[in-house]
């Protein structure tokens, strides 16, 4: 069975590129535009007893930002699921904030397909 990864990002370009790269590599990708949508998807997965193998989330998003989202995930059923946060160089402090909130790692935007795969493979096999 394919491993399932959730990407949460307000940028359609970013979601699309993550989708392309990961689908190509054999993962199943689920997309959300912000933290709130992300939580909603997780709720539905829980109801259907489906599992999720990894979450990739942007930090700077409208409606619900990435940090809040990570904190919410850590409160629930999926708290052991590794979360990768996406940051930019200018957000070094955010990496640490994300880690403190419970993220497992980070990836700096923009990234190359191989970088994304490298990090994802750190957490999902």
């Amino acid at each position: 069975m394919n491993k399932r990864i959730l990407i949460v990002d307000d940028s359609a370009t970013l979601r699309a590129s993550v989708n392309f790269v990961l689908t190509d590599a054999g993962y199943e990708v689920v997309q959300a535009k912000n933290g709130e949508e992300g939580l909603d998807i997780l709720k539905r997965l829980k109801v259907s007893s489906s599992k999720i193998d990894m979450i990739i989330s942007d930090i700077n998003m409208p409606v619900m930002d990435g940090i809040t989202f990570v904190k919410e995930v850590k409160k629930g059923e999926f708290r052991f699921v590794p979360i990768l946060i996406l940051t930019t160089e200018s957000e070094n402090a955010k990496k640490m904030e994300g880690k403190a909130a419970g993220a497992s790692g980070w990836l700096v935007k923009p990234f190359k397909p191989e970088q994304l795969l490298w990090v994802v493979k750190k957490f999902v096999r």
């Binding site: 307000d10 940028s11 359609a12 370009t13 970013l14 699309a16 590129s17 989708n19 392309f20 990894m54 942007d58 700077n60 998003m61 409208p62 850590k74 708290r79 052991f80 699921v81 590794p82 979360i83 996406l86 930019t88 160089e89 200018s90 640490m96 880690k99 419970g102 993220a103 497992s104 790692g105 980070w106 935007k109 923009p110 990234f111 750190k122 957490f123 096999r125």
Partner: protein
Amino acid sequence: MAEKKTLYEIFTEEASEIISMLENDLLELETDIENKNLVNSIFRYIHTLKGSSGMVDYFLLTKFTHELENILARIRSGDLKITPGLINLFLSAIDTLKQFLLYKPENAEDNIGLEVRALIEGIRKFKGLDISESDKEKKIPSSAKDNFEEKILQISMKFRPDIFETGTDPLMLLRELSEVSEIIRIKANTESIPAIEKLQYERLYLSWEMLLKTDRPLSTIENIFIFVKEDNTIVMEDVTDKFIGGIDTRYADKMLGEILEEEGYVTESELLEIIDNQKKMGEILVDSKNLDTNIVDKVLESQKKSRDLQISSTIRVDASKLDKLVNIVGELVISIARINQLVSEQSYKNRDLYDASEQLERISRYVQEQVMKVRMVPIEGTFRRFQRIVRDTARELDKRINLFMSGSDTELDKTLIEQIEDPLKHLIRNAVDHGVGSPDERIAAGKPVEGSIWLRAYQQEGKIIIEVEDDGKGIDKKAILRKAGEKGLYKGGDLSNKEIYNFLFLPGFTTAKHVSEISGRGVGLDVVRKNIESLRGSIDVFSETGKGTLFRLKLPLTLAIIEGMQVSIGEEIITVPLFSIVEAVRPEDNIVKTIEGKGELMEFRESYIPLLRLYEIFGFETKVKDPANALILILEGHHRKIGLMVDDVIGQQQVVIKSLEKNYRQVPGISGATVLGGGKISLILDVYGLEKLAFGDMT
């Protein structure tokens, strides 16, 4: 649907959407410049645009949005105020952004490159803004510096127990490590796993230690731990140096059990249990753990190889720290010796206490020995430098000289080595210059054209002996006496060889007909002797005409401690260095004679030697003023034996020398002080200084 579009199409769609929303927000901001929400939203749009452009390799756009983001970040932090000028700048930036979408990334540079650069310049020059390019350069990772040589790393990984909650699985890290390196050995510490009923499945109880070999850059290995290094204990050490030809040199100093434990074949507690049995380690391990004999044999072999190699690995330690340690340990030994003495006086009362105290003293001496060893360095390095000096000096003088060295592995206190280098250098130059004759002279004397100089170091009777010997013409005693006569130092009469050679050590005394560049620089043997004596050493000369000359230095093993004899004068206790004492005598009546102009003399072995009363010299109070009631120590001075009158001998003890100069000031006749067991201070006598003080000698 989006899936059918290319990534770039998705990007332009999203970007034009963002740009139009940006424009709206900006126009609104113009009328409501205090609105923080608007600024945040603008920041987010630019930020998203920057991220997206990077994903489609639109670098010019990434660069441009990065600049915009920087200004916005400053506005958000309140560092920069929104002004109409700033809003105008942003509006023209929006126009440029729209243009970006008209071109493909690969054509953008040609069409709008100039315009974008001009605008970036404009943004940077904007009042109060100073974003230098160098900020960015600093962030470029220095992976280029990594070398690709094979290295051996020792890694210890200890994770927080709730690591699983952070979504990280250590197993993943181990797998990753095995992909980029060869794991030589790995050990999981299982000791902290609790009993099964207390086991929490969500927690991690293991930690790992491993040794791995890789030719990847260090950063590759470091990157594996990139997400866990902050809140877990990951220690990585490059131990390549410790391995020679695949042999772990650290095995040499380790016990078999220790190695097996490190490699994870046995646990520490198993080991301790077995050690209690005190059988032969290998056998016990094989029996009790069903440990494969092959493993034990393999480890034993590695251990043996390592020991064979015995390359001492080094740690740099500040010398002053060692000095402190040596001092403290010295004090410890002395205090323990004192306790032992007190206990032994009552040994009949408590035999067990006496035995324990004896044992304690033995151990403390052993500790001291080991601590002293830490300071010891082989003299090899210094000797090797002399090889060069001999070669160069001989060449300058057109001589042919071979230097033979022995005992270069003799170990000396580091301070001593440093301080004898100059005196030794002088002696060696002397040997080359004055000792070994010119080829002509040598041929005339029937000697091989090539001269020889021997440099030897060895330990004898608790002292370090260093000799410099040459096979030259020997010391010309007549020339010395002539010169001494000219200087008014010799007024005729028979002198022993020793007395004659002593002239050589007087300041400004040289018999060389010519003052050469090599040894006649005004630094004479007098300085050599002074230096050696300041190290509580001595120098002797032996020479045979036509055969050669030998200079022998005797040095203490260490500078920090001396064997001393404690003597009393009234209330005072003085420590006399044991190496200066020839013997102690209880004089009979009438052995002391007073001679006009020469002071007091005493009879000793059918000759007369000067008698010094220590209480007079230092002005101590004592009731013992009659030599017949006193004790006289016979001391070996430079020029003579001296009788030193003291009240009585208290005992013999090792003492740690404390410099008076450092704590007070230099006192003639005193080389330092020491604290005795009971807390009393005892001055340490400087015999050569005393001689100088009493007789006004030139040396």
